[in-house]
Every structure is written in C-alpha cells, then in structure tokens.
C-alpha cells in the first residue's frame, strides 16, 4: 500500500473483498466528485443550437439535436459516467480493464446516434481502435496475473516490478489510450467532435482525460 499512500494520499475507506480491494483516497475521491458533478450537469443540459455560417454572409440558421437522438445520447452519457466511476474506484486490475472497455463502448454509443456521415465514419474508425486496443489492455492484465499471481492493486503496490510487469504496464498504457481516444489515437476524436450536442461530446473528452489520469496512478502503483 505504500506506493498508493505516496501517490494519492491516505486511504479514506476500503472494502475488503479477498485480494480485490476497492479503496478511496483523496485522489480517487476528487475523481469521483468531478465525475459525479459533470455527469449530473451534462445529463441535465439541453443540446446547443449550432449556428450555421457561410463566408461573406451573416448567420444563416441554426440546427440542434433531435429529441429522439438526444434521449439515446443522454442515456449513453449517463452510462459513461457510471463506467467512469468504476474506473476510478476499483482496486482490481481486471475490473479496471472492464470498466475502461465499457467507457470505450459508451463513447462510441454517444456518437452512434448522430446522423452525419463524417461523424459516423470517424466513429467507425474509433470502433476499430477500441476493438484492437482491448487486446493490449486485457493482455497486460493477463501478463500481470501470470507473473505476480494477483490483480489487486494493493498487493501489486508492494511487489517489485520486473521486465515482464514493465511490459504489461506498457500494454496497459497502449490499451487505455486507445480506449480513451488519446494521442496518438485521437485523430478520429477530432472528427467526431464535429457533431452537435455539446453535453454529450464533453462527456467523451472528460472520460478520455479521467481514464488517462487513473492509468497514470495505476502505472506508478505497479512500479
């Protein structure tokens, strides 16, 4: 646990569940509060009216997200928030990988309802990336289990890293940045955010950075 204490502060609470120990530190508490706040106000927000412009002309009109589409994307936004809560509170590496995959799927869902071929094409590319990146993500988990005999972060924190664990750390990073559409896999994300529906798009950006912040902690813990 010493690495967790040195990284994230003292343990505020934990649920003793064999060697799978979900725990709460000041860092994970800050993440939980941030995700809850964002999920609530993004869910309550109405989509914006996007001003359509043409060069040498004044604003020529506005358009927004249809009600049916908005309802589905709002549901995906809530689901993404729930998956993110799992990502930041879990103390088990396999659960972490599962929740990160769920974040990827819900992000894809947020854009699946958009009726714009550019956005749908980008979402398709992103779907391919998250499918491919699930291999290094779960591969990293499998190698860690095979090498150390545990997936509990509390136990992993006291096991010294060796070359195989370092490989699994690298695989976990690749998996997480792929699922979160982070650099260098962010090209599709830039196309996807052309879609209307600010609250839902914002959730995708939030999920990317929260997954990234959490993976940093996990990589350090596994050291």
């Amino acid at each position: 646990m010493s690495d967790i204490l040195n990284l994230s502060g003292s343990i505020i609470g934990r649920i003793l569940l064999a060697d799978i120990v979900p725990y709460l530190t000041p860092f994970s508490l800050a993440l939980v509060i941030t995700i809850l706040v964002f999920t609530v106000f993004l869910t309550l927000s109405t989509p914006e009216f996007r001003a359509m412009i043409q060069f040498k002309k004044d604003v020529v009109g506005t358009s927004t997200v249809e009600k049916k589409e908005a309802r589905f994307r709002r549901f995906m936004t809530i689901l993404c928030g729930v998956a993110l809560l799992g990502v930041v509170t879990t103390g088990d590496l396999f659960n972490f990988a599962l929740f990160v995959s769920l974040v990827g799927v819900t992000n894809l869902g947020i854009f699946a309802g958009v009726k714009d071929s550019h956005v749908l094409n980008a979402a398709f590319q992103y779907g391919l990336v998250i499918m491919i990146c699930s291999l290094p993500l779960f591969g990293g988990v499998a190698i860690t289990l095979a090498r150390t005999g545990t997936l509990s972060m509390g136990v992993l924190a006291v096991i010294p890293a060796d070359p195989l664990v370092n490989i699994s750390r690298a695989l976990l990073i690749i998996g997480a940045i792929g699922e979160g559409a982070l650099a260098p896999f962010f090209a599709t994300k830039v196309e996807m955010i052309r879609a209307k529906g600010a609250p839902y798009i914002n959730m995708m950006h939030l999920s990317s950075l929260m997954v990234f912040t959490r993976i940093i902690e996990i990589i350090f813990i596994m050291g």
Binding site: N6, L7, S8, G9, T25, P26, F27, A30, L31, T34, V37, F38, F41, L42, L44, S45, T46, P47, E48, F49, R50, A51, I53, T62, L182, A183, F186, K189, V190, I193, A198, P199, I201, N202, H205, L206, L209, M210, F212, T213, I216, E217, F220, G223
Partner: protein, 290 residues
C-alpha cells in the same frame, strides 16, 4: 509553503482571494515587461486585476443558442478545479496527482465552454483546446520522473527530499525545462497559446460575458499561480521553500516569461503540439542519461 493550513472557511476564502489578486499583479507585471520590450509604456500593473474585476459588474448576457445549464456550470467547473488545486497544492501540500487531475478538468472545461455556446468561433477555440490537450505530455512526464527520483508525489515529501538531497532541478534539469514549458502555456500571449489565438477572436471565450467571464478569468489567474508555485516548489524546493523566497521567485520567473512571450511569435497549432512533445521526450532522455 505560502499559506498555513486552517479549518476556518473564512480564512481559506481569504487565502484564495489573495492568491488570485497576487497572480493578477504578476500577470500585470508580465504585460508590463512585454510592453517595455516592445518600447511601449504598457498598462499599469493592476490592469489585469481590474480587467477581471470589471467583468463581475458587467451585464450578464447568455446567447439564445447556448446549451443550458452547461454554459454556466462549465465555467464554474474550471474555476472550481483550480480552487481545489490551490487547496491541495500551496495550502495542504498534498498529492500532486490531484493537481494533474485539475489540469485535466481545465482542458475539458475549455472544450465545453466553446461548445456550449453554439457559436462557430467559440467552437474553433474548443477544437484547438482538444488538440492542445494532446500536447501536454510534460504534465505527465515530469511528475513521473519526480516520482522515480523521490518515490512520492506528495508535495510535502518532495520538498523534504529536496531539503536533504538538494533541489531536483540539479538532478532532472530537462524535466524542469519540460514543466517550465507547461507554465509558459498558461501565460497570456505565449507562443503555444493556440487556444487564445487572435485569429479566432477570443477563442473558446468569445461568447462569454459578464460575471461568467469574470469567473473564467479568476480561474485562469489561479491556474497561473498554482502552476508557477508547483514548478518552483517541485524543482527548486531545496532553496525556495519559504513564503518570501517563493514570492520573489514567482516575480523573477514572471519577468523571464515576459521576455519569452515578447520575443517569440505564436507557433502554428501542429508545431505547438510537436514542440511540447519534443520537450517531454527530452525529459525522458534526461533520466536515461543519468
């Protein structure tokens, strides 16, 4: 440590306000330095502070096209994130990883602020915010190197390590340089400020007025203070660890930032990303060399 930790909410509130006002003065000094280099008299030192305060008494207008309550809430989220970072950093000397999280919330907020208005100009700014988020590798690389060296990311532990072993800038000079680049990116008129480029009006803030703009500027002022403080304490903590030395160092670094911002043009968006990645890679090379 600049501020004593306390349980009094009123005292904490005063700490936040004084930090924001001091950072406002620093940003005023920064503008003055730029002006003097360009042989202009420049605005008075309190100009940035007055500019922020002015918005708190201006009329609040909300575009009809905006996404509500996102339009208001996201601006509060940006300011709230930096208040949290201030409390965790200078006040409590707690986990640095929470400040990294606050920085991530800042980037999400920049994106959301631009999108929530429905304005295409603001959207340009928010798209650049997404692009610039990919370039902030120094934010992650530098703490990783500090953790490898000190085995802790608790700010108090990092300071204690430096008091015993000397400042980290001597051991990780390129990591310090990478973090300094990060401080530059949060300074007005900086060469990497693609989010605020004049070619896109006021970037993501184009459609924000009145008290909401004031809150945004307050958050950005606090962000400058916290990042500058973190840079000084994490890499010069062996020497700069008393309130007076920190304040003097902040003024000194602001002078240097003024020179950099006055003498360098704004780079193109992709170059901005590339340059910041190069500095992050240099920081990694630093560890391999040692």
């Amino acid at each position: 440590m600049i501020y004593p930790a306390t349980n009094s909410m009123l005292y904490l509130f005063l700490e936040i306000i004084t930090a924001s006002l001091f950072a406002g003065l620093l940003l005023g000094l920064h503008r003055k330095v730029i002006a003097r280099i360009q042989r202009r008299p420049g605005p008075p030192l309190i100009q940035y502070m007055l500019h922020t305060l002015k918005f708190f008494i201006k009329e609040l207008t909300i575009p009809d096209t905006s996404s509500m309550p996102l339009y208001v809430a996201i601006a509060l989220a940006l300011a709230g994130a930096w208040v949290l970072a201030f409390l965790v950093g200078p006040v409590l000397l707690g986990p640095y990883i929470i400040i990294i999280m606050c920085y991530a919330v800042h980037k999400v907020s920049e994106h959301g602020i631009g999108l929530a208005t429905g304005s295409p100009y603001a959207k340009f700014g928010s798209s650049r915010a997404v692009l610039s988020a990919t370039s902030e590798m120094p934010l992650v690389v530098a703490p990783a190197l500090v953790f490898v060296r000190t085995n802790s990311l608790i700010l108090q532990d990092i300071i204690n390590y430096q008091i015993i072993n000397g400042s980290l800038v001597n051991q990780l000079p390129l990591a310090a340089l990478a973090t300094f680049i990060l401080v530059i990116t949060k300074t007005p008129f900086n060469p990497f400020g693609i989010v605020y480029g004049k070619d896109i009006i006021s970037g993501f803030k184009t459609e924000h007025f009145g008290v909401i703009r004031g809150v945004l500027m307050f958050g950005e002022t606090l962000a400058f203070f916290v990042l500058l403080w973190c840079f000084l304490v994490i890499f010069f903590g062996g020497v700069i660890n008393t309130p007076l030395t920190i304040l003097l160092a902040m003024i000194g670094v602001t002078f240097i930032l003024g020179f950099i911002c006055a003498l360098t043009p704004m780079v193109a968006p992709y170059h901005s990303v590339m340059i910041q990645w190069i500095f992050a890679l240099l920081a990694i090379a630093n560890v391999l060399l040692i």
